[in-house]
């Protein structure tokens, strides 16, 4: 009886299969918030409460309808942070806690597909979250959204969702090396409130902080959406879309590099299993 040939016993998972599997499985295994009731809560409750909160703060700070509308749009978009940055970062945490991170990394699965597959569902949820937020802005906070702007809004929102998920993956890569990603997620949640033009124009901050804000994808996403609502020309919007797309590309690109780098660091220091 002959033994099976060695080459026949080696499987090579395809990129697309890995991407698909992770897209489908990650919400159930490591994107722990993927219970339907929590997704609904994240999409419908968080945007509303965050927008109401800052609307009252602005009102107390002497702001009027214009300022309230301004902050409503900013917060409608900013709440995408929960479904993009937080949840994607947490895939790393979740895998470490369950002890599956090492098993993933020892597999021959394509890393790009492994990590980016996990971003697919968060992108969809992010799109929905921003759409819900903008709907609230129109219905409750006096924001005018002409029907003619919807296609341009859709482009802006889609690009923003991609950019934010890419950013989340970037932070998730760093979280490979750290114990937990919650810290990073929290930092950028707060930083976003300050530096991304969510509640007040960036121009009111000192110049160095403006530069820092310009480095964040959320800043450009919010800027693009504000531009659409303000009726900016297509050429102006194209520049902003380009900026968001660039932020998305840079985020994804840096994420790839960071995941590879921190995977190596984490494997050499043993922190891959630490949480």
């Amino acid at each position: 009886m002959s033994l099976p040939s060695v080459s026949a016993s080696r499987y090579h998972p395809s990129f697309w299969r890995t991407l698909w599997t992770n897209a489908v499985m990650a919400p159930r295994t490591s994107l722990g918030f993927m219970r339907v009731d929590f997704v609904v809560g994240t999409m419908f409750v968080i945007p509303l409460t965050q927008m109401v909160f800052f609307a009252f703060v602005v009102q107390l700070g002497g702001g009027g309808a214009t300022e309230i509308a301004y902050t409503a749009v900013g917060n409608a978009v900013a709440t995408v942070t929960y479904s993009s940055v937080f949840s994607v970062c947490q895939t790393t945490d979740s895998e470490k806690q369950q002890g599956t991170m090492e098993l993933l990394l020892v597999s021959p699965a394509n890393r790009l597909a492994l990590y980016f597959g996990r971003g697919i569902i968060p992108i969809l949820i992010s799109l929905a979250t921003v759409a819900v937020g903008l709907t609230y802005a129109a219905l409750l906070f006096g924001v005018t959204i002409p029907t003619s702007t919807i296609p341009a809004l859709a482009v802006s929102v889609t690009l923003t969702a991609f950019a934010m998920v890419g950013f989340g993956l970037l932070l998730g890569g760093v979280a490979l090396y750290l114990r937990t990603s919650i810290i990073l997620g929290n930092i950028f949640l707060f930083v976003g409130l300050l530096l991304s033009g969510v509640n007040f124009p960036l121009s009111s901050l000192p110049v160095p902080l403006q530069w820092a804000g310009d480095a964040l994808p959320l800043t450009w996403g919010i800027e693009a959406i504000r531009g659409v609502l303000a009726g900016d020309s297509l050429s102006s919007l194209a520049v902003l879309w380009g900026a968001v797309a660039l932020a998305a590309a840079v985020s994804f690109g840096v994420a790839i590099g960071l995941w590879k780098y921190f995977e190596r660091r984490a494997l050499s220091t043993g922190s891959i299993a630490r949480f």
């Binding site: 339907v36 009731d37 002890g99 630490r274 949480f275």
Partner: protein
Amino acid sequence: MTESTLALETRGITRVFESRKGFLFREVTRTEALAGIDLTVDRGAIFGLLGPNGAGKTTLVKILSTLLLPTKGTALILGHDVVKESEWLRPRIGLVLGGERGLYNRISGRENLRYFADLYGVPLSERERRITEVIDRVDMAWAADRRVEEYSRGMKQKLHIARGILHRPEVLFLDEPTIGLDPKSARETRKLVRSLVADGVTIFLTTHYMFEAEELCPEIAIISKGRVVARDTVGKLRELVGGDRTLEAEAYGFDDREVEALHHLPGVSKIVSEEFGPVSRLTLRVRTEETRPEHLRALLPNHPELSVRERRTSLEDVYLDLVEEEAH
């Protein structure tokens, strides 16, 4: 109230788990993990509980250690009800679940013990001495001040045991205590278990290692699918499955007439037939000394390749026989 002589007594302990799936139309699945367990264990004894994975061993241990409520039935530890008198019981029982989890990874082993010593109220004047004592007892002095996240699996297991005995419990539940330990550490753990019994501690042990159960436990229960299928001393359990002696015959195939003939040998209570590729094995359980290997050879002359082995019926044989019986 006179003190009970029993350390543990259960009557009809049943535990059903419900799990729900789905969002709008929730499907409920009920799993009966324990289906009426009756057990007694004397004070100062070591009692072993064996069973396959999913049999309900850990579920029972958690109920007895007040970590889980039974669906039905009663359980008394040291004469006190595990449900109604858990506050009285918790200072007096220890639980070692073991495994990779269950410890604070970012602090040292010693700090973990210090914390639990405080939660258990080990007197402050005695605390540090007691911590050092249990650390020495599990041979972890060299690593006690390192972070738990740097520990190997075996080291974590030892720390679990140290924590379990820190407050000098009267009853100690050990859920697979030697899992993950190297042979030397495992042997030391078994020695520790015996020394605890010498100190008067009652031990309730679950294990997968048959030799460990045989070595440590005068009395054993075998649990399968939530029921106790057998409970007795190891010797009597051997009788239960057909005898203290086992004869094994291996050859390239046996026909039915040969097997029938073997059934008629004196004292043969059971014959199990197994195939291992081209080789067939007949395992005979024999109650008496009359039937010997040469009798088998005499009845199987057509097998020049025949090999016959005699051994004592092991606990593993008992376990496999009973568990397979329950499965069918």
